[in-house]
């Protein structure tokens, strides 16, 4: 007797979650399940697969409102602990970007610059409950007479704070090497001359978008783990590009999809949102992100069963090519190779190092697994899926 193919709806999966009956596994655990039992059987047994990633993610920031004072002010320049925020939104609404360095930072004048404090650190300090110096300047109007403001604020003092990251969760990323003859300090870390090290930045088989390669379930309105709280995917991210070469399993072989995410900063934790300084490059924010993927059918089981052996990225030169916009690579490597500690580039063995924290990614996937298993986290059907290029 042949069994009917598995088809599950979001409603059915959510009903099982509410009843405490959902079978939830992490993307790492799913690899073995699909390998042993095949995608059809895996889809029958598993309802949700949880993913996670924790890494520096540029294109992050915070929308905030800092409340009025008397006389009122329409701020045109705003600083938090000397880090400039963009104030051209409204009277006391601002956006603080995580790559913004403090105004008095020496930058790369003493090369390579250390970039001790920037927008990402402001956000982490707010989450740590610290008092920050808020300064504002204004030109003054009849309705907003004040021309300056200076006060100490904590996160609790801000009437509104939203973490809003226009590009997170990059689906795959380059493996960086440096083929030039001098060390370079890049957003992919310090790269020694003559290809003596290789850095990569992806959680591989645990990474959210690598488990839903063609964006069938991750879309606008998807409920996610963001910075220790609940957040949402609100759009496709900047630089989202589905048009890349893919493996037979659908996984992109180079950087592809991205997501825009947001969530209430006040509910987040400094354990999952960290200010970052990258030597010679600048500031950014490390963000903890996790996405649950509903196993609607065998295809989703197969996608989430992807392993580091099946996921590939390209080796890119950051000594010359990247800066000069030369689209060239020095071969493809699998995440299994990258995680093994060395890869072969131009016939030579090169040691690898990750920039993305796998222990943290695993913790996030396990937190989500726990929350869903206990009926505390339901899945959202996306209002729209992300552009898939078709």
């Amino acid at each position: 007797m042949s069994k009917a193919k598995v088809q599950k709806s979001y409603e059915e999966i959510n009903a099982r979650i509410k009843a405490g009956e959902a079978v939830v596994v992490t993307a790492e655990e799913m690899v073995g399940i699909v390998r042993d039992r095949g995608p059809e059987q895996a889809a029958r047994e598993v309802d949700v697969v949880t993913t996670g990633t924790f890494a520096p993610m540029c294109s992050s920031g915070m929308f905030f409102n800092f409340g009025q004072m008397t006389p009122t002010i329409k701020a045109s320049h705003v600083w938090l602990n000397k880090v400039p925020a963009h104030a051209g939104l409204a009277a006391v609404d601002c956006y603080l970007g995580v790559t913004e360095p403090a105004e008095d930072d020496p930058l790369n004048k003493i090369y390579p610059g250390e970039f001790r404090y920037g927008g990402g650190h402001v956000i982490e300090d707010l989450l740590r409950g610290k008092k920050l110096l808020l300064e504002a300047k204004a030109y003054g109007t009849d309705c907003y007479a004040a021309k300056k403001m200076k006060k100490e604020v904590t996160l609790a003092d801000l009437p509104y704070a939203l973490l809003c990251n226009p590009r997170n969760g990059y689906q795959n990323y380059n493996c960086a090497v440096n083929l030039s003859e001098k060390a370079v300090y890049t957003y992919m870390g310090m790269l020694k001359p003559n290809c003596r090290n290789a850095n990569y930045c992806s959680a591989g088989e645990l990474s959210p978008l690598l488990n839903d390669p063609l964006y069938r379930t991750i879309g606008i309105g998807t409920r996610i783990f963001l910075g220790g709280a609940t957040g949402y995917v609100t759009w496709h991210g900047t630089q989202h590009n589905p048009h890349v070469p893919r493996t037979p399993g659908g996984a992109p072989r180079k950087p592809a999809g991205t997501i825009m995410v947001q969530g209430d900063l006040k509910k987040m934790s400094h354990d999952w949102v960290r200010g970052v300084s990258i030597l010679g490059y600048g500031n950014t924010l490390a963000v903890g992100l996790g996405i649950p993927i509903p196993i609607l059918d065998a295809e989703m089981a197969a996608y989430t069963g992807v392993s580091d052996e099946d996921l590939f990225t390209q080796v890119v030169d950051y000594g010359y090519d990247y800066t000069n916009g030369i689209a060239r690579n020095y071969g493809e490597v699998s995440y299994a190779q990258l995680k093994s500690g060395s890869i072969i580039v131009n016939g030579k063995e090169v040691p690898t190092a990750p920039l993305s924290s796998l222990p943290k990614a695993r913790q996030i996937a396990n937190i989500l697994k726990e929350q869903i298993s206990q009926g505390q986290f339901l899945l959202n059907r996306p209002a729209e899926t992300l552009p898939d290029g078709r």
Binding site: G189, R274, S277, K339, A353, P354, L355, S357, L358
Partner: protein
Amino acid sequence: MYTQIYILRFPKDTSDKPFIYKLVKEYDIEFNILKADILLQREGVMILELKGSNKASVEAGLTFLKSLGVKTERLATRIRRDDDICFQCGACTGICPVGALYLRRPEMEVIFDAEKCTGCSLCVPICPVRAMELAIDRDWVLPEETMA
């Protein structure tokens, strides 16, 4: 064999003299430069691993350096990691020259083996969250008398 790591501070008027050459030639000491920051007309600082056939030969070399105005301090591991700050990314494992920072597989946990650390401090500015720090506690620099 006797191996120790030393911080050497060169007064500014000595930075053009061939001390290390003489250490090798006259005192038969092997050296491994772990860090060097020498600027003409300014104080220079070097972290050297010195290896001699016995303790006396290394001490003789150090005495020679001291006689020329070089300040020497024996270095215990002066790097420490703040485990509350480290988020286990692994960026440091790519630059640590002696494998004191390494990944435990398959967990991919970042391990810091203070015993292996030579104190070169390359990891300090590389760490994206500044979890690695140079201890300023004087206890980390061991007085000569305690040399084992």
